[in-house]
């Protein structure tokens, strides 16, 4: 059903008139032109499309846009502040926690949500929290390392 909805996207207010059954991923990528969030599997299995809704990681490929009404969405494009990379972005970069880079935005957004829950995560907590985000290149070792480094850098705060 086509309705007016509003939400905050990377800190800015957005108002849209859309079919509210459409999935958030496609509205972000096509209507709003934010292509940092990727399509991977379309059925919530891979985590490539992960974004934050009210600071929690959600799979945008399977989240109808009506659920984000009046909520705050953050995508990979909104993570850096005032030209300064977020500690997670910096840690992924400095620790080579990526290869092809296609899963990277989803990994970072999911890690953000993980650190919200476990500001000082153990290896086991990282593995559990990241387990449904898939990486085919096999950058896992470095991703775990980068999340530890970012957690330390942030000292418990996001």
């Amino acid at each position: 059903m086509t309705e007016k909805i509003q939400f905050k996207l990377n800190g800015e207010s957005v108002q849209l008139t859309v079919d509210t059954d459409r999935m958030l991923l496609w509205v972000l990528r096509t209507d709003l032109g934010l292509t940092g969030t990727k399509f991977g599997c379309g059925e919530s299995f891979c985590g490539t499309c992960t974004v934050l809704v009210n600071n929690l990681a959600v799979r945008s490929c399977s989240t109808p846009i009506k659920y984000v009404h009046d909520k705050e969405i953050v995508t990979i494009e909104g993570l850096a502040k005032n030209g300064k990379l977020h500690p997670l972005q910096k840690a992924f970069m400095d620790h080579d926690a990526l290869q092809c880079g296609y899963c990277t935005p989803g990994m970072i957004m999911n890690a953000y949500s993980l650190l919200k829950k476990h500001p000082h995560p153990s290896d086991a907590e990282i593995v559990e929290g990241m387990d449904d985000n898939l990486c085919r290149c096999g950058a896992h070792t470095h991703i775990v390392q980068a999340i530890h480094v970012a957690a330390k850098e942030m000292g418990g705060g996001l």
Binding site: Q99, L134, C137
Partner: protein
């Protein structure tokens, strides 16, 4: 033919190439100093293995570099970046030879209008084949700069040196001139003279040093553009009507309901039916409203009986290598080992599905595609559109993983056809089901080996038959006096009537299958000889590089000799791929009631000659280990006739964080040797490695990959 006489490399058959004239290239290239060169070493000499010239391979040059008026150095080459890190490693080589900062080097890659023709990015060739030519070109360009600097500074060239983009007086470094100044207003075109030498290892400043990826910042901020991120004004997203199974024929398609969706455009040309809309999800909704009938030919083939079928239809064998006398080998053996090995079909499943955006207008086509071979895509698109190939430009943005799977370009052809039909820019992005359906899988394969070991624990016989995997990786590094290797269907593409769908090259094609069979067989021979598997290998290997990596891996892991099965869950395997030697040791734990395997630790030692970027090489090794766990333990394509049954990550299970073993890598850096491949070698040992470790843990040999919990439980039941 003996082992050392064949390369073990396989290249795709190439379509006729289309060389853009040099004039066209330089028309828009601006001023500067240009060095034209050829990727022309022994691996890729423009000739096939029979010495015939390969069609489409340029005879004059296929890469060039430019030193521009702004002092920037650009290298134009048709290779692509798909995560393997060549934007960094190639840049390092060039910057070091030219004495410029890495930051001032631009790699211009995979654009068929800007770059000279290239075969494609596969075979771990970018560094080992292109690298030496690139270094040579950099050194030659430096020589040109020294000559120009000599004129400018009015000093003999032998008193000059170069540093950070300047030619300078070696005794008075304030007396200098920038490369930018020397290139200003010039149009100098040079070919390599062959008289200049590249730097020696002691002179490296940028090469052989660990650097992080140059494309990382774009990738962590979401700015990196992949094919699906290209958005053109008025672009439509297409969803295409797909058959339920391979070889199905469309009988009818009722589009009346789909047509009702607001803003939708439907095109039909024969059995090619597509729904287009400005939003891809709305196109999807409309596509689901098409009522289509397909006729699917009956087939009894499935993932269980495929091996009987393959053995039945296998073409005559081709002798790949032989020496000695098999009968003598057999009679000299104290024990014989005979076994047959199987592996299932495996998918590439890169995280980025095949995607393309095409804009066809005014008789010209521009296509952005996720592809490993843009120049092949260009020819395919030109043929489909009926355009002369010079009217087609393929641009390769970042590619979200390839692994050999992005060498067929159906999605790019479809996008181009639809753009021509609609007159608008069109994006075709496969969903995951299409990705699994159209993938050219790693072929199911069978290996039969009969081998012998003497009473002194020396290998005496190796009678090897491989069906459908290909010959890559069959080259023996064990010292066996009597051997024969025969390949039945020696290519990854099956002869007509063999596979029920497309098969193709998959990261180190053939070698994963061949190394799995070989390393398990060697383990069984060690057991027959009553020896520890590492000691047995050390006793039967003469190649120094292989001995080096095996000893390094054993040392790193703290190997304590024991006969297998020791109950500890330790396995070892060796392999060679793309000129690189690998030895790995793994420790596993097997849950006997569930059949589940937990790989706790993998130690991998590798000798890849000169290492350009040790950090990049390490990451590739780790990636190979993680990806290799998939084909070893879970990955297999299930099918019924031409219908692929597992088409998303719920039913096709790839490795994930909870699988992550402790990974330890060792690189034996041979600075004096040419650099070898890095993207594939460490994956080839993973099947045999895990199989041997499982045997050591529970005493069960698993003759089929993947070693799923069901197969392990079945093995335990049989004893």
């Amino acid at each position: 033919m003996k082992n050392d006489q064949y390369s073990g490399l396989e290249f795709l058959e190439q379509p006729p190439g289309n060389e853009i004239s040099r004039r066209d290239f330089f028309k828009s290239a601006g001023s500067g100093i240009f060095l034209l060169f050829t990727i022309g070493d022994s691996l890729f000499s423009g000739q096939d293995r029979q010495g015939r010239p390969q069609r489409g391979v340029p005879t004059d040059y296929n890469a060039f570099l430019k030193i521009g008026e702004d002092g920037r150095v650009s290298c134009y080459v048709g290779k692509i970046e798909m995560g393997q890190g060549v934007v960094t490693s190639l840049g390092q080589m060039l910057a070091d030879e030219l004495d410029v900062l890495l930051e001032s080097v631009d790699m211009v890659m995979g654009d068929t209008d800007l770059c000279p023709w290239d075969m494609g990015t596969f075979g771990s060739l970018s560094t080992r084949s292109f690298g030496p030519s690139l270094r040579m070109a950099g050194a030659e360009a430096r020589q040109v700069l020294l000559e120009l600097g000599s004129e400018h500074l009015k000093m003999p060239a032998d008193r000059l040196t170069t540093e950070n983009g300047f030619v300078l007086d070696s005794t008075n470094k304030q007396h200098k001139v920038a490369y930018a100044t020397l290139a200003k207003g010039k149009k100098i075109e040079r070919r390599p003279t062959g008289k200049v030498s590249v730097k020696k290892p002691g002179e490296f400043k940028i090469m052989n040093k660990s650097l992080i990826r140059r494309d990382a910042q774009e990738k962590v901020t979401g700015k990196a553009k992949y094919a699906g991120d290209i958005q053109l004004p008025g672009m439509l997203h297409a969803r295409i009507l797909r058959p339920p199974a391979h070889d199905s024929k469309l009988i009818s398609a009722d589009i009346s309901e789909a047509k009702q969706v607001d803003g939708v455009q439907i095109v039909k040309e024969g059995d090619f039916v597509a729904v287009l809309h400005k939003y891809p999800d709305v196109a999807d909704t409309a596509l689901s409203k098409i009522k289509a009938k397909f006729e699917t030919p009956k087939s009894d083939l499935n993932d269980k009986n495929i091996f009987d079928h393959l053995l039945k239809v296998a073409p005559a064998g081709k002798l790949v290598a032989m020496d000695g006398n098999l009968q003598a080998g057999e009679s000299g053996a104290k024990s014989l080992v005979e076994a047959t090995y199987f592996n299932d079909y495996v998918a590439h499943s890169p995280m980025e599905p095949h995607t393309a955006v095409a804009n066809v207008e005014g008789g010209k086509a521009t296509v952005w595609a996720s592809t490993q071979n843009p120049f092949t895509a260009k020819e395919e698109i030109a043929k489909a559109l009926g355009f002369p190939s010079e009217n087609v430009r393929v641009i390769t943005p970042f590619v979200g993983g390839g692994f050999g799977g992005k060498t067929r370009n159906l999605q790019a052809v479809e996008a181009a056809r639809l753009s021509k039909m609609t007159g608008k820019p069109v994006q075709v992005a496969y969903n995951r089901k299409e990705e699994f359906f159209f993938d050219a899988f790693r072929p199911a394969a069978v290996v039969k080996i009969k081998s012998g070991v003497t009473d002194k624990g020396k290998t005496s016989l190796w009678d090897y038959h491989v069906y459908f995997a290909g010959e890559r990786g069959t080259q023996m590094f064990y010292d066996i006096p009597n051997y024969s290797t025969i390949a039945y269907n020696a290519s990854w593409v099956g002869a007509q009537g063999s596979h029920p769908f497309l098969t193709g090259p998959w990261r180190a094609p053939g070698n994963n299958t061949n190394s799995y069979a070989r390393e398990m067989q060697i383990d069984m021979m060690a057991e027959k000889a009553g020896m520890d598997p590492v000691e047995f290998r050390l006793q039967n290997i003469v190649n120094k590089k292989m001995l080096g990596v095996l000893k390094a891996a054993a040392q790193k892991c703290g190997w304590k000799p024991a006969k297998s099965p020791s109950g500890r869950g330790f396995g070892v395997a060796c392999g060679v791929d793309a000129g690189t030697f690998v030895a790995s040791i793994a420790e596993v734990e097997v849950n006997k009631s569930t059949g589940g395997v937990r790989v706790k630790r993998v130690v991998c030692a590798q000798d890849m000659g000169l290492v350009i970027n040790p950090e990049g090489a390490t990451i590739q090794m780790e990636g190979c280990i993680m990806m290799g766990l998939g084909y070893a333990l879970t990955e297999r394509v299930m099918f019924k006739g031409g219908e692929v049954l597992n088409r998303n990550f719920d039913s096709y299970e790839i490795p994930r964080f909870s699988w992550l073993p402790k990974i330890e890598t060792v690189i034996l850096d041979d600075k004096e040797a040419d650099p070898q491949g890095g993207g594939e070698p460490a994956i080839v040992v993973m099947g045999g490695l895990i199989a041997n470790a499982i045997y050591d843990a529970i005493g069960v040999r698993l003759y089929q990959l993947p070693m799923t919990p069901e197969r392990i439980k079945e093995g335990l039941k049989k004893g």
